[in-house]
Symmetry: C2
Subunit: 345 residues, 2 copies
């Protein structure tokens, strides 16, 4: 257990300064460790970002990542009253939210991340999965406000997931639940980075969108603009495909529709299991808005078990797209820190 | 809210008798409405069945079912102190656990079942989904004792599901969660009674086992004994196939293996979502024990996403097979009744 006094009295580099903020503006820090960048923010109790920064991730160097997180927390905390820091990381976090079992793009295997950070930071530390942190932010401050049961799919390079039930995050028995990207949608389907096959991540992610766009570029017809862009730039990337979607290019829109149809089918299956009131779509691909949601909704209705016999969920785009991870990590850290010191949440 | 006095002082047909039991032997009643029979039991606080009865279900007649439930509760309560009655029914129950949205084999559509029963019984009444009740019984008194996160699959004619997380039933936003039989395992797969296609119910249920046994009987070879049994009895049924499985007949065992492989694949997908510490298999088909669990475990390991990077769940057969529904319904009713009257659970 953390020492409450350490938390309440935390001053970081504050000693000797007179810049103490009043007790009703206590902040929490959220750090989001991604495969390419580490984002950090000082977050108010209302979920607003007061200060933020970013550094590149040295993905192969575990110690360098920890060093980067520690100095980012120290810089963000400098001169402010901070009650907790939350660190969101990709991959599997244990049920105690202390150890990172495994991260796909960082070399952590059974890494006692919380312990390492506690040894170097005089702050209450909470570790969480990045998609859980993003889902919690949307539930608390974004698209999920006012809903008790929400399922979020984060459509970035891969597909992340978060499940909120009765107002709390669903973590599963070993802490590795809500890995919704690894719901299987095709038996013996495309190989997935997780070692299995046919995961929705291979049919509903940003990477899948590029594969579909390339397939459409290959066949001409509606794919001509995609083929031109590919020829001009050497290869298609998210920006190119996103730009063509924004202009209404039929090939790029068709690729997004295919993606949306797969995601809608996955949501129909997930509804049978999780029955949320709301599905929220976050991540880079979600900026497409209704161009993504319309095919999602269409496929959902087409594949929903027992359609018409029980209420149906809403589908929404995330509101905090780029900041959800840091905001959620900060808020979860605040909640856990208060629970650890027995204060009201 | 129920009147606590009504519950504590409930006497059913007790007036005039002197058979009052002492206050530490207060019972609850559980009723399990199935497609062919209605089972009822008087259940102790420890989950033991004190008295039980069964009647045939008049599936097409909603009023007859309610009449049967009312008189069964009255008979079971006669002469005993009863604190609550729980009624488990197949299909979708609303989040308030009052209304049956839909039952596949009974003509209920938006049926206010709790209200109808409260009007006729002087008892606190709780309505729940039958698979939830069975899962709760296994969690509280059976295979799931000592585990906080458990997923149960009930393999009967269809496939039912229950999810326990952090010691409580997961119900979803509209109360219709944990319908695990309608997880899709094959896109555009076999049509399902729910209106969708490719649900695990079509690949992992008792009905699917019969289909697989018939397919094996059709092709000779290891299917000869199945073909003989079919010829002799006109058609294969659960008893015939179960009997051949028990004798080790290779055709019948092969059908069960196919079933187990599908269920194991579904569990791999469910692990990504729910990450339980334990999968429990109940229902008639689960009496096959390890002959079912071995192929389940094998397929699970083969299809598990990120295998080796986080702890793996156990697989067990349900302990309360035939009584899980009534025991769980009674216990849930007791818990809800105590919550409603503010007593400790």
């Amino acid at each position: 257990m953390a020492d409450p006094c350490r938390i309440a009295g935390y001053s970081g580099r504050l000693e000797g300064t007179a810049e103490l903020v009043s007790s009703n503006t206590v902040h929490a820090i959220g750090i989001d460790i991604g495969g390419t960048k580490i984002a950090g923010a000082l977050v108010s109790e209302g979920g607003e970002i007061v200060a933020e920064e970013r550094v590149a991730t040295q993905a192969g160097d575990s110690q360098a990542i920890i060093d980067a997180v520690v100095s980012m927390v120290e810089r963000l905390a400098a001169g402010r009253e901070v009650e907790a820091a939350g660190v969101a990381a990709p991959g599997f976090i244990d049920a105690d939210q202390s150890t990172v079992y495994y991260t796909p793009n960082i070399s952590w295997r059974n890494e006692p991340l919380r312990e390492h950070l506690l040894a170097r930071l005089e702050l209450d530390i909470t570790i969480d999965n990045d998609a859980n942190a993003a889902g919690w932010a949307e539930f608390s401050f974004g698209a999920g406000r006012g809903v008790a049961d929400m399922t979020m799919l984060t459509i970035g390079t891969g597909v992340g997931g978060a499940i909120v039930t009765r107002g709390g995050l669903f973590r599963g028995g070993f802490g590795a639940g809500a890995e919704l990207g690894h719901l299987r949608v095709v038996p013996d389907g495309l190989p997935c980075g997780c070692g299995a096959r046919g995961c929705i991540e291979q049919y509903g992610s940003g990477r899948a969108l590029l594969r579909m766009a390339n397939e459409i570029a290959d066949v001409g017809g509606i794919g001509l603009a995609l083929a031109d862009a590919r020829r001009e730039h050497g290869e298609l990337d998210g920006e190119l495909v996103g730009g063509l979607i924004a202009t209404g290019d039929p090939g790029a829109v068709r690729a997004l529709e295919q993606l949306g149809h797969w995601l809608g089918q996955a949501c129909a299956s997930l509804s049978a299991v999780l029955d949320p009131q709301l599905f929220v779509f976050g991540g880079g691909v979600a900026v497409a808005g209704d161009l993504l949601l319309d095919p999602v909704r269409e496929a959902y209705r087409q594949h929903l078990p027992a359609k018409g016999y029980h209420p149906e969920p809403d589908f929404m785009i995330a509101e905090l797209v780029n900041n959800a991870g840091v905001v959620g990590a900060a808020d979860l850290a605040r909640i856990h820190a208060r629970a650890r010191r027995g204060a009201p949440e």
